[in-house]
C-alpha cells in the first residue's frame, strides 16, 4: 500500500463517527498520565463513564425507537444488585480482580436484559403515555422489592455490601466499557437493524406493511438498552462499598432523560457530551450549592427539559428552527452541500417525528373482531390528512 493509498483511505473515513471514541480515549490517557488524581476527581470520572453508558442506552429507546422509558434506573438497579451480589460472592474465591468484575458485569447485564424483555412485552401492545407509565411502575416495583428484600440476600433497607475496585484503575475500566457501549449501539444503529428501528419510530404502520418484524425489534431495543443499563449498574456497584436502592429512584431516571433530551434525542454524540456535562455540573454544583440550594440544579434540569422540548417541537418555532438549525450551521462552517442533503450513512436522527396523529400513538394494539367503533372503511381515510 502506498502512502497515497493510505491518505486516500484516511480521507474517506467519516471522522464524525469516531469523534466520541477519540475524545474518550484521549481524555482517559491524559487522566492516566497526569497521575496522582485526587479521590474526588477519580470519583467524578467514574460517574461520568457510568452516565455515558446510561444516556447512550436510554437514547436508543427514546431517540431511535421513539418510546419513553421512565424505568431506566430500575434496570440499573437490577444490574447493581445482582451484579454486586455476584461480585461480593466471588471476591472471596477469585479475588477482587478484573475477572470477577467481568463475570459480575455480564451476570448483572443479563439479569437487567431479562427485565428489559419483560418490560418489552407491554411495549408490543402499548405506546406513548401508557408505555411510559408501565416503565415507571416497573422502576418503582424493582425498588420496592429490593428495599424489602431480606437482609441476608440483598441487605434490605440497609443496602448491599459490594467490593470497591482499585481507585487507580476502575475509571479506566469504566471508560473502556463506555467505549464498548458506544460502539455496540453505533454499530447496531448504523446497520439494517438501526434503520428498521427508526422506521418503526417514523411510521409503525408502514413499517409493519413493509415486512419489518416490529415485535422482534421492539423487544430487542428494550433488551439491549436494559442490558447496558445493567452493566452501568454493576460498574456503579464497584464504585461504592454499599449499594442503596434509594439511589435508583424516579429522579435518577429523569436525570438520565435530561441528558438524552439535552444532547438531542437520536444523537449518540450529543448524549455522551450531555452526560459528561451534567454529571460534571452535578458534582461541582454539589460543593457550591449546599443545603436547600442543592435543589437549584433540579430546577435547572427541569427548565432545560421543558425549554428544549418546547423549542425543538413547538409548531410556533418552526420558522426559527429552520433558520438557525445546527445542520445549517455545520454546512456553513464546512462549506459543503446544502443542509437538506444527508449522506447515506448519516441519519437525520435528531428530529422526533412530529406528524403522528394522536389516535395513532395512543391507540393500543387492537384486534378488530370485537370492535364496537363502527366507522367504515376507506371514506374515513380522509381524517388523517392533516
Amino acid at each position: 500500500m502506498t502512502f497515497g493509498d493510505i491518505t486516500k483511505k484516511l480521507k474517506s473515513v467519516k471522522w464524525s463517527h469516531y469523534i466520541a471514541y477519540i475524545v474518550i480515549i484521549v481524555f482517559t490517557v491524559i487522566c492516566m498520565l497526569s497521575g496522582n488524581l485526587k479521590r474526588t476527581d477519580i470519583y467524578l470520572l467514574e460517574k461520568i463513564g457510568i452516565s455515558i453508558i446510561l444516556a447512550v442506552s436510554l437514547n436508543f429507546i427514546v431517540g431511535f425507537l421513539g418510546e419513553l422509558s421512565l424505568g431506566h434506573a430500575g434496570f440499573m438497579c437490577i444490574g447493581a444488585y445482582l451484579g454486586g451480589k455476584v461480585s461480593s460472592m466471588l471476591v472471596g474465591s477469585m479475588g477482587n480482580g478484573i475477572l470477577t468484575l467481568i463475570i459480575s458485569v455480564i451476570v448483572g447485564g443479563i439479569f437487567a436484559a431479562l427485565a428489559g424483555f419483560v418490560i418489552g412485552l407491554p411495549a408490543l401492545r402499548l405506546k406513548g403515555d401508557y408505555l411510559a407509565i408501565v416503565t415507571l411502575a416497573f422502576g418503582q416495583i424493582a425498588l420496592i422489592i429490593f428495599q424489602n428484600s431480606n437482609y441476608e440476600t440483598f441487605g434490605g433497607a440497609f443496602g448491599l455490601d459490594t467490593p470497591r475496585y482499585d481507585y487507580n484503575s476502575l475509571y479506566i475500566i469504566i471508560f473502556v466499557f463506555a467505549i464498548i457501549t458506544i460502539a455496540a449501539f453505533q454499530n447496531v444503529i448504523r446497520s439494517k437493524h438501526g434503520r428498521a428501528i427508526t422506521a418503526i419510530r417514523d411510521n409503525e404502520i408502514a413499517a409493519k406493511a413493509t415486512g419489518v418484524p416490529v415485535t422482534q425489534y421492539k423487544l430487542f431495543t428494550f433488551v439491549m438498552a436494559a442490558f447496558f443499563a445493567g452493566v452501568a449498574g454493576v460498574l456503579y456497584s464497584y464504585t461504592q462499598s454499599k449499594v442503596q436502592c434509594t439511589h435508583f429512584d424516579y429522579n435518577y431516571s429523569i436525570e438520565i432523560l435530561v441528558m438524552v433530551v439535552l444532547g438531542g434525542m437520536g444523537s449518540l454524540n450529543g448524549s455522551i457530551a450531555a452526560a459528561a456535562l451534567i454529571t460534571f455540573l452535578n458534582e461541582k454544583l454539589a460543593t457550591v450549592l449546599t443545603g436547600n440550594l442543592a435543589v437549584l440544579q433540579n430546577i435547572f434540569y427541569s427548565l432545560v427539559l421543558i425549554l428544549i422540548v418546547i423549542y425543538s417541537n413547538a409548531p410556533a418555532f418552526k420558522n426559527i428552527r429552520e433558520k438557525y438549525n445546527f445542520k445549517k450551521f455545520k454546512s456553513l462552517i464546512m462549506r459543503k452541500r446544502d443542509p437538506g442533503y444527508i449522506s447515506d450513512d448519516e441519519g437525520s436522527w435528531d428530529r422526533i417525528p412530529t406528524k403522528i396523529k394522536m389516535d395513532e400513538l395512543l391507540s393500543v394494539d387492537i384486534s378488530v373482531q370485537s370492535d364496537k367503533d363502527g366507522s367504515t372503511s376507506d371514506s374515513t381515510g380522509g381524517d388523517e390528512n392533516e
Binding site: D202, A206, G211, G340, D344, G347, T376, D378
Partner: protein
Amino acid sequence: MSEAVLEIRNLGINFGGLKAVQHVDITVNKNEIYGLIGPNGAGKTTIFNMLTGVYKPTEGNFALFGEDLTGKSQRYICRSGIARTFQNIRLFNNMSVIRNVMVGLNDDPQLKCSVFSSMFRLPTHFKTEKAMRQKAKDILAIFDLLEERNNLSCNLPYGKQRKLEIARALATSPKLLLLDEPAAGMNPNETAELMETIRKIRDMFDITVLLIEHDMKFVSGICDRLTVLNFGTVLAEGTTEEALNDPEVIRAYIGG
C-alpha cells in the same frame, strides 16, 4: 386461461354490527392490472387492509398462488408476496430516500444479517449492507429517484413521494402489488407517466397489480379488468369496458 394469482372467496368483515364488506369474490390472474373501484365508503381500502393482514376477515378467505393467507400476520403476508402502498402516503419521513427503500429490503431472505454480526461488524454485515445499497439503487433507478436518494423523503415533491412508496413496496419483492389510489393528487402528465411506470414494473418484476383508483381516465387506461364495489358488496365485474358501461355502475356513480 392464465394462472390465478389472488383468489378472494366470499370475503367479509364486520365492525361491531356493521357489515363493512361482504360476499366479495375476486380472481386476479397473473400479470394482470386489476382495478378495484367504487364510491367513497364502498370498502375498497378495507379489502386492502384484509389482504395485508391489518384486519382479520370475519368471513371468507383469500389465497395467493393457492396458499391460504386468511388471518395471517402482516409480516407473514408481506413475506408471502403481497406488498402495498397507502392512500395517504406513509413514508419514513425522517429517513433518506434510499433508506426508505432499504427498510423494504430488511426482511429479504437473501439479505440476512443477525444483530450480532452488525454489532461486532462481522464480514456478513458489510456484505449485506453493500448488497442492500446496490439493490436499493437499482430499484430507485427505475423510478428516476436515484438523484434524490440522499434527500429526506419528506422533502420530495408529492408525485415522487408516491413513487417512492411504490419503490419501497417493490423492495419487499412482492408477487402481488396493491396500490391504494396511486394517482391521487397527480396532474395529467404525472398520471400518464405513472401508468407507464406501473406497466414497466409489472413486466420487469413479473408481478401482478391490484389497484384502487378514482381517476376514471387512469383506470380505463391501465386496468385489464375491474371490480366495482358499492356498500361493501360487488356491484359489477368484468373487463374494464364492460364494467364501466354497466347500468348499475353508472347509477351508483351518477346517482338516480
